[in-house]
Amino acid sequence: MAADEITEEQLTRAESWLGEHGDYLYRYAQSRVFNQHHAEDLVQDTLLTGMKKLSDFRGQSTERTWLTGILRYKILEHHRKQTREEASEGDEIEGQILKAWFDADGHWKHNASTTGLNWSPEPRSDIDRKEFWQTLQNCMAKLPAKARAVFVQRELEGNDAKAVTAELGISDSNLWVLLHRARNLLKHCLQTNWTNA
């Protein structure tokens, strides 16, 4: 049997993973890439890789933990592709938001609907939470791809700044610019689309 030949045992194992862990892996991917089709592709790639590398699984962690590790790497690869896009993506949108927020001297415009003085992104009930999550996913999906990739890797995956810049091939200053952009765009989108009245 050739080294890269897949066995029936590997296939059976992968199919059982799909049954036991498929939904979890899908949710994990969805909460990092905010796109249903990409999330499904990532789950598929993860199971294919896991199937081929079954011999590497030594049982030191649970199957789910091991598969999630593979998935996280696939998500990082996905984000690497996205950071190859133009750095200026999002410049215009952010510029419009900052113009709406600040006057010529860099002070907040005294417009409650723009500054949202009383707005708070805190769901107050379980029903509220589901709606908030849906709005959050919609807003994350709208972020410029590069800013989203950096925000997810730094804030959601918990990677430190040095690791993020190295893995995504961006400079230190670019990292902070992109994080700042992601936060401003996210706040603006959430404030516009979700109220906790």
Partner: protein, 107 residues
């Protein structure tokens, strides 16, 4: 008309004076993303603190951005555990088919 002009000039002069001492609101929103240029200015911390004491809009912004970070982090931890969200049957079937194809293709 002249009164308005004088008022506007005074207003702008005050804002610029405020910015020189306490930074502008726009500059301060960048600080939490480690804007090194600003954080290295003398007396940065105290000036930032005084700005926040004086500007309720900046206080609101800081609070809201921290909450957005907190909620996003909570989402990333809780959403994968939410059993109500599942792969669709068609997606599941598609993945299964691709797994079987890879067995055929490897032979």
């Amino acid at each position: 008309m002249a009164v308005k002009k004088i008022y506007d000039s005074l207003n702008r002069a005050m804002k610029r004076g405020f910015n020189a001492v306490f930074f502008s609101c726009r500059d301060l929103t960048e600080v939490d993303c480690s804007n090194a240029r600003l954080t290295q200015r003398p007396g940065f911390r105290i000036r930032r603190l005084l700005h926040l004491c004086l500007c309720r809009f900046c206080r609101a912004y800081q609070r809201q951005v921290k909450l957005v970070d907190k909620q996003t982090e909570a989402f990333s931890k809780e959403f994968p555990e939410d059993d109500s969200v599942k792969l669709s049957t068609s997606s599941r079937d598609g993945i299964r088919e691709r797994l079987r194809d890879s067995l055929k293709n490897s032979r």
